[in-house]
């Protein structure tokens, strides 16, 4: 090959050496003016432009990660938004509860705002709007009754009895409705009574008292701690914040009867009746918070994971407090789970111990018997041990028939349910009198407190979900955002803004509904399977994929470009020389 080329090159070079500069210029001029050459040049340029103008954008467009537009700036603002929780309180003064001077100032409205310190940029303010007025004749009449319960029952239905609102009545200082040492009474509904005063500046003094009552009925620190969890500064975090279940759209409740010894016990429980009479009314009050579905099962030969210890003194068996954590796991494997639903499951287990291990008692840390004979585990559920009456064993016929008395069982399960949903038994200052809860076992304002907590929790969850989604999109390049995901994000942003507006307007129910909508949309957006559409490829792999595509095309284009440039330069130099 090399020899073959040699003479050719020699032939090419010879004329160069032989002819003078002029001739060479002429030849070059002819060369550049040669129409064939020019057409070739144009073609090469055309290809190059096509590749750059059309090919590159096309390649870029088709290989880019699809990202629908998202409201980044709005999401950015969410992080540092101001959340104002307005609690509308109507304060009614009964005749004689205020000095005459102050009475004339009524009616008017006082707003009290309190900052809740948070760790993050979000600001939280609790705003109590106290609307003062004098009592009407109907209300006056109710307070002629002898006891406070009767007075409460006789009160006309308040105009505003919505979720989250409060009605506080101020009764005369000397009133006999309240016991002497009590300052206030908090009823089972959204009503409270506060003792009035006759001192100077009575309204200021009363304002403080009313505020205290209103606070303990709605937005206590515990409520906020339960809702905000890790956003509160540590010194404010209460220990039982891990106990309640997280906010969810629905809950599955399973009642299980464990009968490890069916040879000796034939256990019957009227779970249907108990659910109908006790659980259903309880849950119907909570239905604002989520959907509940219930089922029950009986498990035979389901053992606890721990062997109880025999206590000779009382000839009974005991489960010590420290062994309780190991009880649940072996049982849980038997409980089964429903495949269809993704809501959190709450388990309530009634354990009837084997005959060999009964009676069985749970001991607390001090070694004392637990009155309820029950314990619960945060976010999981509760277990109660139900001992068979020992006199039932005075028979020769086995299995012994056991009819479970559902009332004590349900008493325990409902109190556990309260704890698991985050409604701990209220802790009130000494001088507060607490009304008995109604038959359902839940006070209206306790439900309100839960809804407050859930709304704030939902808002916080949505804010974290959306901001972390935005952050992730920024950080990780290959996340795809499809149009439907984007629309969910928009919906979530809209809903949360609505929720914030409604919260500051004091419409708790609406706010809660919006916040739930926002949670649903934002979760849907975050967990949409299409986000994980592309797998990650490192850059060197991408390079390896595109090289075989681009190289065959790029080489001729680049070479011709280089040639054109070189020729142009040469031509220009020659022209200069001619000049």
């Amino acid at each position: 090959m090399a020899e073959g080329r040699m003479p050719e090159r020699a032939r090419l070079e010879r004329p160069r050496g032989d002819r003078g500069d002029r001739e060479r210029n002429q030849a070059l001029a002819a060369l550049t003016l040669d129409p064939e050459k020019i057409r070739g040049k144009h073609a090469a340029l055309c290809f190059a432009t096509m590749a750059v103008m059309l090919g590159l954008p096309l390649w870029w467009k088709t290989t880019e990660t699809y990202r629908a537009a998202l409201p980044y700036s709005q999401i950015g603002h969410l992080d540092s938004m101001l959340l104002r929780l307005r609690v509308p309180v109507s304060v009614v003064f009964i005749q004689g509860s205020l000095p005459i001077v102050d009475q004339q100032k009524l009616p008017f409205t006082v707003v009290n705002e309190r900052d809740v310190p948070l760790k993050c940029k979000m600001k939280l303010k609790c705003r109590f709007q106290l609307a003062y007025r004098m009592a009407g004749s109907h209300e006056e009449k109710a307070f002629k009754k002898d006891t406070i319960e009767e007075a409460e029952a006789a009160l006309p239905l308040p105009k505003e009895d919505t979720l989250g609102s409060l009605n506080i009545f101020v009764i005369p200082e000397k009133s006999s409705l309240l016991p002497k040492d009590k300052m206030s009474y908090i009823g089972p509904k959204r009503t409270a009574f506060v003792r009035g005063t006759q001192v100077r500046q009575a309204l200021t003094v009363m304002g403080q008292r009313i505020l205290q009552v209103a606070q303990s009925m709605s937005l206590t620190d515990e409520v906020l701690a339960a809702a905000l969890g890790d956003r509160l500064p540590e010194d404010k975090v209460s220990l039982d914040k891990r106990r309640p279940l997280k906010s969810s759209l629905g809950y599955e409740i399973t009642f299980s009867l464990l009968n490890p010894d069916p040879k000796s016990h034939e256990v019957h429980w009227d779970i249907e009746g108990a659910v109908e009479n006790y659980v259903q009314p309880f849950l119907s009050l909570l239905s604002v918070v989520g959907n509940f579905s219930m089922d029950s099962q009986i498990l035979y030969y389901a053992m606890l994971g721990v062997t109880p210890r025999f206590d000779a003194a009382s000839s009974s068996y005991t489960l010590a407090a420290y062994s309780l954590p190991h009880v649940i796991n072996p049982v849980e494997a038997r409980l089964g789970s429903r495949a269809t639903s993704l809501y959190p499951v709450i388990n309530f287990l009634l354990y009837v111990p084997e005959r060999a291990h009964s009676p069985l008692y749970i001991q607390d840390k001090d070694g004392a018997r637990v009155a309820t004979n029950a314990f619960h585990s945060p976010r999981w559920g509760g277990i109660m041990v139900y001992n068979v009456d020992p006199s039932a064993y005075n028979t020769t016929k086995y299995p012994v028939k056991v009819d479970v008395d559902m009332v004590p069982v349900m008493e325990v399960f409902l109190s556990q349910m309260r704890l698991l949903f985050g409604i701990p038994p209220p802790q009130m200052p000494e001088n507060f009198l607490l009304g008995d809860p109604p038959r359902e076992g839940l006070r209206s304002w306790e439900v309100d407190r839960l809804v407050w907590a859930r709304t704030v929790e939902n808002v916080a969850t949505v804010v974290t979900t959306l901001t972390s989604l935005a952050e992730l999109l920024d950080k990780i390049g290959n996340i795809v955002i499809k149009d439907n995901v984007a629309s969910e994000v928009y919906r979530a942003v809209d809903a949360i803004q609505e929720a914030v507006v409604e919260l500051s307007a004091g419409n708790l129910e609406l706010a809660f509904r919006y916040s739930r909508e926002a949670v649903t949309s934002s979760e849907k957006a975050f967990f949409d399977p299409s986000l994980l559409h592309l797998l990650y490829f490192p850059d060197d792999q991408k390079f390896a994929i595109y090289i075989p595509l681009f190289l065959p095309m790029a080489v001729p284009i680049f070479l011709s470009m280089i040639k054109i440039i070189v020729e142009n330069q040469k031509a220009r130099k020659d022209i200069e020389k001619v000049d």
């Binding site: 649940i328 704890l419 950080k475 797998l535």
Partner: protein
């Protein structure tokens, strides 16, 4: 202060289960013995002592001891209990002993706790004493994602690795509902397995890790990079059942175990695709952003395993690997009867270690780091703890491998009034139930004996392959004979 171990039986001292042990009204004094870090939180190590005339109060930091109990160094190498009791009068010491008993009931074992160079009677760590600005330790549930990424019979050992970890976490209390097990190939049913329905991890068929109740969530071709990432990030299709999801929350500790063939920066899935360390780190970050875990332990047994955790950047992740970058992980336990290696060295020693663990044991992560020294493993196991907030010293093995639940005693009851109308109803119901349940009997069990002794099924007759081929050839020949080649175009 580094050597402190809390010896509550399976309990976390930092929890709501441990209230202030000082009964109100009694004048007790807290003796602060020093500070320890527990759960990323600085705690005071205190011992409660009775002292006359002193009010119960919050513990004071070490150095401001008002007691005439002498500086701590004087107790060096002696049980504090005796030292303290000596220092007190007879009456006082009896009260102190009472307190000791109470503490014992409280769940603290009698054995003294060792604090580097002196011995302390009791260690108490109350979260109320923690300094602000530090995280509370606490998880309420445990999850495990166990992945074997290899196919084919000669990768038997990877399946055995995964199943042995599965067996350990299950034994230590994580229920199947909280374990996502991904097995790429089913060695137990492999035709080359001389012992069907078993997977052994030890030579001479000593330990069968394929127990009676192995619940595989993702098997064979379902084990893909995509599915794995979907499980982690929660972006699964809506039809996915509960058992195939990782439904963890912000209070979950997650154990992720992976094994297979890998290289620098990737782990191969089934010889067809691979997961890179960047992808894995991004998945963890997405989990963290969505609060899908509280703490995470990542263990990988593969060649150049350390490269897989290099890129992690999310907090609260502790990672372990069987080998450093540039090293191979080696197999162990060749078995002549089965014909393959049964396990990998690293997991083999991890399993040996885990077999010693029980739900209440106090072994910590540092013990796990030392499980497989280079002399045994041949490769150099690595670990990474810089993202983790707590000192590995204070992280119990059971925080990840087991599931010890927090429980609380229920003390409250809701007062319910029995509904008289419902009583009659329930009575009726009960009677009805009785009538129904009376004739119930145990169900006929599976006729195992019959199944075992039945004759092998007669094979159906199929014409031999050559016959079919010949038939086709004949048909074609007849076709060409009749129409000739040129009519081909009418056929096609």
């Amino acid at each position: 202060m580094e050597q402190v171990q809390f010896l509550g039986p399976g309990m976390d001292p930092v929890s709501e289960n441990r209230p202030h042990p000082v009964p109100s009204g009694e004048s007790l004094h807290w003796l602060t013995l020093g500070e320890v870090s527990h759960g990323g939180q600085q705690c005071f190590l205190v011992s409660a002592l009775w002292a006359p005339g002193m009010k119960a109060g919050p513990p004071q930091p070490a150095g401001s001891l008002p007691l005439a109990l002498a500086p701590l160094s004087t107790f060096s190498k002696r049980p504090l209990s005796t030292a303290v009791l000596e220092a007190l009068s007879a009456e006082e010491s009896s009260k102190a002993r009472n307190l000791e008993n109470r503490l014992e009931i409280d769940g603290f074992p009698p054995s003294p706790l060792v604090v580097k160079d002196f011995i302390v009677l009791r260690g108490l760590c109350s979260p109320a004493l923690g300094r602000p600005g530090q995280l509370l330790n606490g998880h309420t549930n445990n999850w495990a994602v166990l992945v074997c990424t290899s196919r084919f019979w000669f990768n038997y050992r990877h399946v055995a690795n995964t199943l042995s970890v599965y067996r350990s976490v299950k034994r230590l209390g994580i229920p199947d509902s909280h374990i996502v097990l991904m097995l790429a190939d089913d060695m137990a049913c492999n035709p080359r397995n001389p012992k069907p329905a078993t997977v052994f991890s030890h030579k001479n068929m000593e330990l069968n890790v394929y127990g009676d109740d192995v619940e595989v969530d993702y098997r064979s071709y379902e084990v893909t990079v995509e599915n794995f990432l979907r499980v982690l990030t929660g972006r699964v299709p809506p039809s996915t059942p509960r058992s195939k999801r990782l439904l963890s929350d912000d209070r979950s500790n997650i154990l992720i175990y992976m094994t297979g063939h890998g290289g620098n920066g990737f782990l191969k899935f089934q010889d067809s695709e691979e997961i890179t360390n960047v992808e894995l780190a991004d998945a963890f970050e997405q989990m963290w952003q969505k609060r899908r875990y509280h703490e995470m332990l990542f263990i990988i047994d593969t060649c150049q395993g350390a490269s897989m955790y290099e890129r992690f950047y999310s907090p609260n992740v502790m990672a372990l690997a069987s080998s450093q970058v540039g090293e191979d992980s080696l197999s162990h336990q060749p078995d002549l009867a089965i014909g393959v290696h049964l396990m990998d060295r690293y997991t083999f020693y991890v399993l040996e270690f885990l077999e010693e663990i029980h739900p209440a044991s106090q072994a910590n992560m540092n013990d796990l780091f030392q499980v497989c020294p280079k002399s045994l493993c041949v490769s150099t196991p690595g670990h990474r703890t810089d993202l983790f907030q707590r000192n590995p010293q204070n992280v119990l093995i059971t925080d990840f491998f087991g599931s010890v639940r927090k429980v609380e005693i229920t003390t409250e009851r809701v007062a319910l009034k029995p509904d008289p109308s419902s009583l009659g109803y329930s009575h009726l119901k009960c009677q009805k139930d009785e009538e129904l349940t009376e004739p119930l009997n145990y169900a006929e069990q599976l006729p195992v004996a019959q199944i075992i002794h039945q004759k092998p099924k007669q094979k159906e007759w199929h014409p031999p392959g050559g016959f079919i081929l010949g038939l086709w050839a004949l048909i074609l020949m007849v076709f060409f004979k009749t129409y000739g080649i040129k009519h081909m175009k009418y056929v096609f």
